[in-house]
Symmetry: C2
Subunit: 281 residues, 2 copies
């Protein structure tokens, strides 16, 4: 299965022989005081810088999240989407817990964006999937069906099947659903990594759709996070993940290395180009 996304002028595909796609996660105020304050003040220079820097570092898609207490997030998301699409040509990923904010982002957007996200919960399916259909977008399906995250591959797979059935019933093609297999901190649950890896393998085998991960959650609360993140990224790509939501400049070297080791980079062209780009900085 191949998922098509499009920015203002640039089209990209996820899956089916493509290199691993990277969604840049840095346009998100969570845990970033400077960006939070700039967004609250309506100052978007920092957003422009982050957009450029992430694409320069190799982001294929940019996630945009402006979820902040006390702002008009419909208006702000719309402005940020416009700015990012003026600044870079990659597709965007509209990230909000609020359906009406997502719709504001969709209205501001040209091309074919990714929506982050729908879950298996009734309310989410009923509000998000119609937007996916109406705007011809693609959507990330998170494998939870209530407030908690299922801890077994069986239960996660059940949610994935349900989300895809509901989407297909609305006429949304399966390739426009990218499943987030969910990554929890392995410091809190020693089996969380293996549960995610097994979930990825089963989604690929049973449903064939693309799989995305917020990979760096694996290392939450542990020391030397990059070493663990890099190992987990390689394992996840080996298991079949095709897309990652990450801090691109940190994770891309390990991703290029894993793609090369998995036979997805003939003559090591991308690996060597990535190395040269980093060496030149």
């Amino acid at each position: 299965v191949k998922t098509r996304l499009a920015g203002a002028t640039k089209e990209i595909f996820i899956g089916d022989g493509q290199p691993t796609r990277l969604i840049g996660e840095r346009i998100n105020p969570s845990g970033k005081r400077k960006l939070s304050e700039a967004l609250k003040a309506g100052q978007l220079d920092l957003v422009r810088e982050e957009a450029l820097a992430q694409v320069q570092a190799g982001a294929d898609i940019l996630d945009i999240n402006v979820n902040l207490f006390g702002v008009d997030d419909k208006k702000l998301l719309s402005e940020v989407v416009h700015l990012v699409m003026e600044t870079v040509d990659v597709p965007i990923c509209i990230d909000s817990p609020h359906p009406e904010t997502i719709e504001a982002g969709l209205k501001a957007c040209s091309g074919k964006p990714l929506i982050n996200s729908v879950t298996g919960e009734k309310h989410s399916l009923e509000t998000i999937l119609p937007l996916v259909k109406q705007y011809g977008a693609a959507v990330i399906g998170l494998l939870q069906d209530d407030q908690s995250i299922p801890t077994t591959p069986d239960r996660r797979l059940a949610v994935a099947h349900h989300v895809i059935e509901r989407a297909e019933a609305l006429g949304i093609p399966r390739e426009d659903i990218v499943i987030d297999a969910l990554v929890m901190a392995v410091g809190a649950d020693p089996q969380s990594g293996s549960v995610t890896l097994e979930t990825i393998r089963r989604i690929r085998a049973e449903l064939g759709v693309n799989v995305v991960l917020g990979a760096s959650n694996i290392s939450f609360g542990l020391p030397d996070r990059e070493v663990l993140n890099n190992a987990f990224v390689a394992l996840a790509l080996g298991a079949g993940a095709t897309c990652l939501i990450v801090d691109v400049s940190k994770v891309r070297p390990a991703v290029l290395a894993a793609d090369l080791a998995l036979g997805r980079d003939d003559y090591a062209r991308r690996y060597i180009a990535g190395y040269r780009q980093r060496a030149a900085r």
Copy 2:
């Protein structure tokens, strides 16, 4: 399947729920001028230092190779084996292309060593397997049956089946064969990583035996070798490799991270201990 090895006083197991086992590769003159000269002069202080440093860095087993032009390698290997076994308590891996040198190492050795290696070639099977049987050792089976290395998983599997049949026919238990799935430079052949990974999966599924790799061959001739080695190590462990022949101090952080992400390190105990040990240096 669980492979038991023993040093002078210490027993270790490979496979079956154990953490990934690391064979320290540094007692080997290949490409090391200082060690070559010391070995030729019969000065073994450097060997003692390397033995201690590798075990300190987390080596579970030490490879010993003294293959040098113009030395009496039977006598030298015997001396080095004695010295290493006096210095550290881990099992050793006797590494030589010459059966008579291997036998000299076996005679010098207490415990249960690993022999590196037997191949699928007639001469190798006929000279090495009887030594494995006679001395109650374990052996690494290299997946080649002539001077070249098979480039497909099918052909590598055929060699693995053949080596194990011949060993079992002599009464050597299957768990005493550790298969080296062979790693070739991905810069020279873009599919070499994926062929090795598929070979590992099939050996585990069809034969169930332990799998060892000289993982760093993957990056030969490429820049930023550690990034690629670390990604390939994680992929190989995810595919089912249980043992690595490596420069331990370089590769161990990535191995501890992969073991943790694969659910083999409850409460991240080994990962955190490894981090603290490095941070204290």
